[in-house]
């Protein structure tokens, strides 16, 4: 029973981590390798606002979300826009930005242990004989809510539909008067925002450390590859596959092995079904 419950929680965690990455890639074909860095940045800013500036929690959270979204948008409009379309440069530049943020934070004194965010709600509850923190339940609820919101946004609002149009056919979208660069900025901001939301929901469970940035990037990438890059359904399904696989290995083989699961999942996916669970249409473009 606890395997099922913690499996669901772990899967929701992974889905939250991967959502922003797959959103940006799906819309603008831009692999945002600074994803993990933005995640850590959001937690750090929130901590600073809470403990150094002394703002109330809601205000601090909202400000840090806005800040990270702005950083994401600025990253595209000042730096990445210049190298749009050169995939090697895009990877290297966004990875470099992420590294600069993460290692800059590490130098600035971000070390393990001292930086923690409080739980939203204290306490725990028994579900079918397994005791679960409220915070972990909140992860599942908010994760579902976020997926729902993003789904609604992409399929029902003008901006969302414009983003979807860009993802499907950039040229056709251009002829209909959708500004490709503005949409890319919007998608980067949105992707960064969802990284920040994930950070604020997930970070209270642990502490804010630089390593989390790399961990989140790896997990996001693993989920996206297994699910098929840029595919929403695939990403969520893959989050559940990897999430449960991790919990099962932790339960039967030991916690050390759960980090290896992500890599094994990627390699197995690449061998058995190279374009991921739901990534059919771009098959020829991405591999030979």
């Amino acid at each position: 029973m606890d395997i099922i419950i913690y499996g669901i929680i772990n899967s929701a965690t992974l889905a939250l981590m991967a959502l922003g990455f797959t959103l940006v890639y799906g819309v603008s074909r831009l692999p945002n390798f600074a994803h993990g860095a933005l995640y850590v940045l959001a937690g750090y800013i929130c901590w600073i606002l809470l403990h150094k500036v002394g703002l109330p929690y809601v205000l601090a959270a909202a400000l840090s979300l806005a800040f990270v979204a702005a950083v994401g948008g600025a990253m595209y409009s000042f730096i990445l826009v210049r190298i749009r379309g050169m995939s090697i440069s895009e990877i290297i530049a966004s990875y470099a930005i992420g590294l600069a943020i993460l290692e800059g934070l590490r130098w600035g004194g971000l070390k393990g242990g001292t930086f923690t965010l409080d739980y939203f709600v204290e306490g725990s509850v028994d579900i079918a004989g397994v005791s679960v923190d409220y915070q972990r339940i909140l992860v599942v609820i908010l994760g579902t809510l976020l997926v729902g919101l993003l789904y609604f946004f992409v399929n029902r609002t003008r901006l969302g539909l414009a983003l979807k149009g860009m993802a499907q056919d950039e040229r056709a979208a251009l002829t209909l008067g959708i500004d490709s660069d503005r949409m890319a900025v919007a998608s980067m901001a949105l992707g960064s925002l969802s990284a920040a939301v994930a950070a604020l929901i997930l970070l209270p469970l642990g502490s804010i450390v630089v390593e989390a940035g790399y961990h989140v990037l790896i997990m996001a990438v693993a989920v996206c590859i297994v699910g098929g890059l840029g595919s929403w359904t695939g990403a969520i399904l893959a989050a559940f596959v990897i999430g449960f696989a991790q919990i099962l290995t932790t339960a039967y083989l030991g916690a050390h092995f759960s980090v290896v699961v992500a890599l094994m999942a990627i390699i197995l996916t690449l061998i058995l079904r190279p374009s991921g669970l739901f990534g059919k249409q771009k098959e020829l473009e991405e591999r030979v």
């Binding site: 090697i88 990877i91 600069a100 030979v288």
Partner: protein, 340 residues
């Protein structure tokens, strides 16, 4: 611009194409021969003389060996990225595998140092190629993503399974007999790798490599096995990295998980971008500039990785051709002022 140089302008003339080509015209006069040989000689003699120039300062001699190791890795990265079309963000994997293989050979099987480094080069290259084999059908972004994960996970793997000495690493390797051999072995390997690869990319095989990079469907249609050629490319590049890793392990007489560290992945990329991608000599120049800078920044801890990342970003966005291509262009042009 125009106002500053009233009445005259700068005229640029390309050096004759016959001289720049490798034909018989290149040896038509001493001047033309010097023109072609000069820069190459400068690099060779400069690198060979470097240990003597730095003779009095052991610290900077150590830095020189580190430069060579990074340069080997960077040449491999450049070759793989610009001639085979595989961007490998995980150079640390090669260093780590090379270091562990030579450490195991040396301590467990008692292989002497002059045999363990070459063996680690070949074996390590083979191991890296096998590890990356499933990812070879992937292109561009996808390969980069997966290769990035390998060194991070390799370190975790060793930690988790507690194999190869776990977090302590493997200690007690044989060192080089003296510091001169340490430096010259690496410098000569570096020069051989550099000129060897430059030769290779102009051979038939290099043509296939570039074909794989530019249009793999066409290569496939010609009945050539792409995955095989990609594997050969990865083998060559990772062997260079493993050679560096093996040498590193023997220099420190220790192999551990810190040899999967991020520095080994990011510095070669930065050096390639700064020096000029696709030139093979550029990455060496990039390393000669960046690694000393990194040593000067050592007091600031991880800030140096941040500094690197910023330099890398600035170059890739604002000066993406790199120093070497810029220099080569200037070198091949005559420039002088003419009155209007």
């Amino acid at each position: 611009m125009a106002k500053q140089h009233e009445g005259r302008r700068r005229e640029r003339l390309d050096r004759g194409i016959k001289v720049r080509s490798d034909g018989v015209y290149a040896v038509s006069s001493w001047r033309e021969m010097m023109f072609l040989v000069g820069p190459r000689l400068l690099l060779i003699v400069g690198l060979l003389a470097m240990p003597l120039i730095l003779g009095g300062v052991p610290y900077w001699q150590k830095v020189l060996t580190i430069i060579c190791i990074y340069a080997l890795l960077a040449i491999g990265f450049d070759f793989l990225a610009h001639y085979v079309g595989l961007v490998s963000l995980g150079g640390a994997l090669y260093i780590g595998v090379g270091a562990y293989v030579s450490a195991l050979l040396n301590t467990e099987f008692g292989v002497p140092i002059w045999a363990s480094i070459p063996m680690a080069t070949v074996l390590g290259g083979g191991i890296c190629t096998l590890l990356l084999w499933p990812c070879l059908p992937l292109r561009g972004v996808y390969f980069a993503i997966v290769s990035l994960m390998f060194p991070l996970l390799a370190a975790r793997f060793i930690e988790a399974l507690d194999i190869f000495g776990g977090t302590d690493g493997i200690m007690g390797l044989d060192g080089f007999p003296n510091k001169w051999s340490e430096m010259y072995v690496l410098i000569i390997c570096l020069l051989l790798a550099l000129f060897g690869l430059r030769r290779l990319v102009n051979e038939d095989m290099g043509l296939v490599f570039r074909g794989v990079k530019d249009n793999d469907q066409a290569v496939k249609a010609s009945g050539i096995n792409i995955t095989y050629y990609k594997a050969v490319g990865v083998f060559l590049a990772s062997s260079l990295g493993c050679l560096g890793g093996a040498a590193l392990a023997h220099i420190y007489m220790w192999a551990g998980i810190s040899q999967f560290a991020l520095d080994f992945s990011i510095i070669p990329i930065a050096a390639t971008v700064v020096g000029g991608g696709g030139t093979l000599a550029g990455p060496v120049i990039g390393c000669l500039i960046l690694v000393p800078v990194s040593e000067l920044l050592r007091d600031f801890g991880t800030l140096r990785i941040a500094v690197y990342a910023l330099i890398l970003m600035a170059f890739i966005v604002f000066k993406s051709e790199g120093l070497m291509s810029y220099g080569a262009r200037k070198y091949n042009q005559f420039e002088h002022w003419v009155e209007i």
